[in-house]
């Protein structure tokens, strides 16, 4: 076994845990737990970013790590929890595809993502191969979660988790994006969350529920 530096081993392990969290999200029906899992994902991202920062010695990665922590571990979960309490949505209704079925599709998605990552990983350095595959898998799994859930709240969590996957992939392969881009994305998410929060209240005012079924009659004449 060729030697991999310890910090990269840890990043790899964190990547694996990130994948695990994505699967836990897929199987979780309680929205509160979903938000907690999202916070844990943020924590993993923070640690991974700091690891990479320590390795490359780039200061902007430290900053980015701190930003991740503040935004994804503290602020967004807090906001979401507040929203949940205010809106009183604790459970998602039965997902469109049952949990074991979702899991099965999830495993196939992982196979697909890993297979997809193989040629990319050959171009990248040996050590980041794991991370690319897992980042793609996390993105696709979050997508799957958004597809199978019916509550707007869980879809927002899926969206945020997708962003986490993107962030992880970018961070682990290219040593992070330029600071400006990262700040931009962070701001985007923040604004998006606030807008969505307002939007949720509006939806509930209108339909007395956060179930997205009510938004589905997009065609006229139904």
């Amino acid at each position: 076994m060729n030697t991999i530096p310890l910090d990269l081993q840890i990043v790899n392990a964190l990547a694996a845990l990130l994948l695990l969290l994505s699967f836990s999200m897929l199987s979780q029906r309680r929205i509160v737990s979903l938000v907690n899992l999202l916070a844990m994902q943020g924590l993993l991202l923070t640690v991974a970013t700091l690891m990479v920062a320590w390795r490359t010695g780039e200061t902007h990665l430290y900053l980015s790590g701190l930003l991740t922590f503040a935004l994804k571990v503290l602020f967004l979960p807090w906001l979401l929890h507040r929203l949940i309490r205010r809106l009183e949505v604790y459970w998602d209704t039965e997902p469109l595809l049952n949990i074991p079925g979702t899991m099965l599709v999830g495993v196939l998605i992982v196979v697909f993502a890993f297979g997809l990552a193989q040629p990319i990983a050959e171009l990248a350095s040996e050590t980041t191969r794991n991370s690319i595959g897992i980042a793609v898998a996390v993105i696709l799994l979050s997508f799957l979660m958004m597809i199978t859930r019916s509550k707007a709240m869980s879809q927002v969590v899926g969206f945020l988790s997708m962003e986490n996957g993107l962030f992880f992939g970018a961070m682990s392969t290219t040593r992070g994006m330029p600071m400006v881009v990262e700040l931009g994305i962070a701001l985007d998410i923040l604004v998006a969350m606030l807008v969505l929060g307002v939007f949720f209240f509006q939806i509930r005012e209108q339909f007395d529920s956060l179930d997205l079924h009510h938004l589905e009659s997009l065609k006229e004449g139904d």
């Binding site: 392990a13 495993v107 794991n130």
Partner: protein, 316 residues
């Protein structure tokens, strides 16, 4: 194959036989401490077995001979299984004869005999226990095999002692795949040994019992053997876990000093595992029977994910 290796093999089986109830006693003791109860003696399981061996055996009228020989078969398979698991040393003469797949098969055979024996008298509880045991089994068995597959992918062998030897010799590194499989294995171990999230070893009169429901018609020597076999099974599983995930400190030859050292080390590792088991059992609640498959399916999923992560690493 020198005689020291044979000695090692022999000592190993003896240690397993003798220490299995001790491990059970230790788990019970830790559990009592954690739950603020006064703990039973460490030797309580031995006393239980001794007591049972001094009683008249009672058999149901329509118990067949299958019912009578099943305890011996189950106990014998567990002893044979102990011989295949590297507990003290890795140079077991038995290595070439039976690999990890055969070991899983052996566990399956024991489970099948247990379930058949439970169905033999034809009581409501017996058949119910048998059905549930097989339900747990058909999910736990593939998970265990997938766990072993991951380890065997890393070591190019399916013989458990060689897997342990190769893993111990490899450079120390964090293997994400092994993290996954370790959790999966722990879940299987809980399920297979009738521990708390799946089954409760402490209760009898409960509609959700699995393992105890199958033993209801047994008494005296048969029951003693069954209880001892259950303790051995727990011991075996703990040792498989140690061989896969903490393989350091196994004697790679039959040297008596290293063997002695290995015994001490094994005792230490098992003490930690036992305490951990007690902790899990204290912290978690018994699942409804129909949540048990979900629990095991999660374990299966974890093992499969471990396999995939491993494949991602080695794929060309």
């Amino acid at each position: 194959m020198n005689w020291l290796n044979w000695l090692d093999q022999f000592i190993e089986v003896l240690v397993a036989l003798a220490a299995a109830p001790l491990l059970l006693g230790w788990v019970n003791m830790c559990r009592a401490w954690l739950q603020n109860r006064s703990a039973p003696s460490l030797l309580q399981p031995y006393r239980g077995i001794r007591k049972l061996l001094h009683k008249d055996a009672v058999l149901a009228h329509n118990a067949s001979s299958l019912f009578r020989i099943a305890p011996y078969i189950i106990f014998g398979t567990m002893v044979a299984a102990a011989a295949m698991i590297p507990m003290l040393g890795t140079r077991l003469p038995f290595t070439a004869a039976a690999d990890a797949i055969a070991l899983v098969g052996l566990f399956a055979a024991a489970r099948m005999f247990l379930s058949l024996a439970a169905m033999d008298v034809g009581t409501a509880f017996g058949t119910l226990g048998a059905r549930r045991e097989m339900m747990v089994g058909f999910l736990a068995e593939p998970t265990l095999l997938m766990v072993i597959f991951v380890a065997s992918l890393m070591t190019a062998t399916t013989a458990l002692p060689l897997i342990a030897e190769n893993l111990a010799a490899a450079q120390l590194a964090i293997h994400p795949s092994l993290l996954f499989t370790a959790v999966a294995f722990a879940m299987v171990m809980l399920a297979e040994n009738a521990r708390i999230p799946v089954d409760n070893p402490a209760t009898h009169l409960e509609l959700t019992m699995i393992h105890e429901a199958m033993l209801l018609e047994y008494s005296a020597r048969h029951l003693a053997l069954m209880e001892w076999a259950a303790a051995l099974k727990l011991f075996n599983y703990a040792c498989i876990g140690l061989a896969l995930f903490v393989p350091w400190g196994l004697a790679s030859n039959g040297d008596p000093i290293r063997l002695g050292l290995a015994i001490v080390l094994l005792a230490g590792k098992l003490a930690v595992i036992g305490a951990g088991l007690a902790l899990i059992e204290t912290l978690s609640a018994k699942l409804r029977v129909f949540r048990a498959p979900e629990f095991l399916a999660t374990a299966f999923l974890l093992a499969v994910l471990g396999l995939l992560v491993r494949l991602l690493q080695v794929a060309r």
